[in-house]
Symmetry: none
Subunit: 221 residues, 2 copies
DNA sequence: ACCAGACTTAAGCACTTCGTAAGCGGATGA
DNA sequence: TCATCCGCTTACGAAGTGCTTAAGTCTGGT
């Protein structure tokens, strides 16, 4: 899951990035509105965390401009506590949600989950696909009723595949979500990850679609 | 345990926040009804202390609106008005409890414990998990029949883990409940806390789930 | 204001997880 | 059929995560 964070405050930005990465999100932290707009235009991110009041280009302008360009990526706006007007204007400008600073990171996480889930058209906090079950709240995974211990990366991969169960997920999508835009270097990291995940589940839960990517069937046994 | 306090009176608000923090609750103090509704919406808090008669939006409206949005967080209403009408309307609107000002902080503490207990689905004032027993009223903990002296922080951590015994509790959940917003900095405070707690109990009561958080099994020995 | 206990921070260490690279094997297409 | 490509597997070094200890800071009680 790839998140673009637009925030000019070094401390807060670093803190948020840290927190999100701890949740196994991939974060591209941008400090400048102009950069943000460029990144948004590509629609490669799953979510944008946008601070209003940026140098270079105002956060609200970025949002308006992006929506004008038909960028549909969910945007979560962050505003200062006393800027009530900003929040209203933010929503009018096309933000999907807003968060008032200061906020609990737990809350941020919950909203991010809520937004990305909404974007996927899912409702529950648990995803099931056949014998696979994944709890987003507690990060617990079970397969055929047995609890399975996964690492963060493995969990992140499995989550993406399960959210799109029954549909092919392209290799480059997975790589973007897991490693961000920067880390697109040539390596077999994804294949290794798939391998360890298969070993922990079973070798036929994740199907390879040669030349394209991977897929978890809607009803794996 | 994270409590949202909605109170516009500076003196009273500060006094309550102080008192609750002394009880090792994490308190988010909001002065405005609109803000309160936003905070309520995500159900991130364990309890809401709601003052009726707020600026911006009446406390009762906040409550009604929150319940309409299926927010299930327990709400404890505070009001200066002693009229029976208000009482009934408050409870009808979805409040779980009601406190008439002025009140003693001890009573407030007791009611908070009662409510959080109820929300947790616990009948008694005690939580048990295997050889562990925790009394919410007296804050006493025993392990294998022996009384164990815990500090407030240790108790708070143990309480969260025991309320969710058998389920993984994410690290960020713990940090937010224990430290609130301030803990955006990187530190190993939680790890140290876990360590001291393990030393006082035993080293295998609290299980580490690497990369995610901690867990107390439902039947630790 | 002082003291003791509680709490946070920081640093070193052990262990786990992750990305890289290299070799291998099966699939693909001429 | 052969050459090529793509993905699988394995091993290893680097980075990350959590444990532990110790020192510094904060807090409440006297």
């Amino acid at each position: 899951m790839h998140i673009i964070l637009v925030e000019d405050d070094p401390q807060l930005g670093a803190a948020i990035q840290r927190a999100l990465e701890r949740l196994a999100y991939t974060v591209s932290w941008l400090r400048d509105g102009r950069e943000a707009l460029l990144a948004l235009r590509d629609q490669t991110a799953d979510l944008v965390l946008l601070d209003l009041g940026l140098p270079g280009k105002d956060g609200l302008d970025v949002l308006v401009e992006a929506r004008r360009l038909h960028v549909k990526t969910p945007v979560l706006v962050m505003t200062a506590r006393d800027a009530l007007d900003d929040r209203v204007r933010g929503l009018d400008a096309g933000a999907d949600d807003y968060l008032v600073k200061p906020f609990h990171l737990e809350e941020l996480g919950a909203r991010i989950r809520s937004l990305t889930r909404r974007a996927q058209g899912l409702a529950a906090n648990r995803i099931d696909a056949g014998a696979l079950s994944l709890d987003l709240g507690t990060s617990e995974v079970s397969f055929r009723g047995e609890r399975v211990e996964l690492t963060k990366r493995e969990f992140a991969l499995l989550q993406i595949l399960m959210e799109r169960a029954g549909r092919l997920v392209r290799r480059e999508n997975l790589e973007n979500s897991l490693y961000g835009l920067d880390n697109m270097v040539g390596s077999s990291a994804l294949e290794v990850l798939v391998h360890t995940l298969r070993r922990k589940l079973s070798y036929d839960t994740i199907q390879t679609v040669r030349g394209f990517g991977y897929m978890i069937p809607r009803e794996p046994q």
